[in-house]
């Protein structure tokens, strides 16, 4: 029996406008991203629409991503998260900058991790969970509000009734901790994690 094509193979075929490959990518990836969008917006109908919009755009970006060997999963993750939090903010009457920010970045996707980099994170998921659990609960909450809630440091401070300086330093400390741990996770050194 012929083995199922890898995501990389499907991406390369989708880049050449192979409709079957694109449908297979959608079949494999979309359900996970609907979950992500639903987690952010708490609305299944909106989550489904967001992911369909993301995949409609993905169809046009597949060639560039494939040529640059940049991760389609990270691209779809960031795009889904951006559309979800912009929708969420619009419901609160707040301006949304997440998609605008992604669109402002270099169009050659040199700012995105490579396919190999993302695959190595996928392969180390239990270690990533362990790293996340090492964060103090307060910092973990701030990450959730920023990443999935789309709230700025100032907005988080208002929501939690905390001093803005405290939120700012804790959120930046959380990202700094993650950044340093991830350098170890994607490298070969895992001692002490």
């Amino acid at each position: 029996m012929k083995p199922a094509p890898t995501l990389e193979e499907l991406l390369a075929r989708a880049a050449e406008r192979d409709g079957d490959a694109f449908r297979e990518l959608h079949r494999r990836l979309a359900p996970g991203f609907v979950e992500l969008a639903r987690h952010c917006v708490s609305n299944s109908r909106v989550a489904n629409r967001i992911v369909e919009d993301v995949f409609a755009r993905f169809r046009h970006e597949a060639k560039l991503l494939s040529q640059a060997r940049r991760s389609p999963e990270v691209w779809v993750t960031l795009e889904t998260r951006a559309r979800a939090v912009d929708w969420l903010r619009a419901q609160e009457g707040l301006p949304g900058w997440a998609r605008t920010r992604l669109e402002s970045l270099p169009a050659d996707y040199s700012w995105l991790p490579t396919i190999e980099d993302a695959a190595s994170l996928d392969a180390r998921r239990p270690l990533l969970s362990k790293v996340l659990r090492q964060l103090p609960p307060s910092q973990s909450r701030l990450l959730e509000l920023a990443v999935c809630g789309g709230l700025s440091e100032q907005e988080i401070a208002q929501k939690l009734g905390e001093p803005a300086g405290k939120v700012k330093s804790e959120l930046r400390a959380a990202f700094s901790f993650l950044r340093h741990r991830l350098r170890a996770v994607v490298g070969t050194w895992t001692a002490g994690i």
């Binding site: 402002s104 970045l105 980099d117 998921r125 789309g150």
Partner: protein, 77 residues
């Protein structure tokens, strides 16, 4: 000008959560294809992806066949 003073804000920049004032410094460097800023943005994208991956909200395992199977359908033995 060196961009190392911006070290702690790339994740917030990528997420679109940084103030306009702080964003402008990074945008200027990224616009000039500053290698340091692009490398740090890759790390920031990796960090955001990792947060969602570790929570099971994205990634290859989030769309594994077992999670994609229709609910309520029993397997035949």
């Amino acid at each position: 000008m060196d961009s190392r003073h911006l070290e702690d804000v790339y994740e917030l920049y990528l997420l679109g959560l940084l103030s306009a004032e702080e964003s402008s410094s990074i945008a200027e460097h990224v616009g000039r294809s500053c290698p340091h800023c692009l490398a740090r943005l890759r790390e920031a994208a990796r960090a955001v992806y990792a947060v969602l991956l570790a929570r099971g909200q994205t990634g290859r395992q989030a769309c594994a066949p077992s999670r994609m199977a229709p609910r309520g359908r029993k397997r035949r033995r």
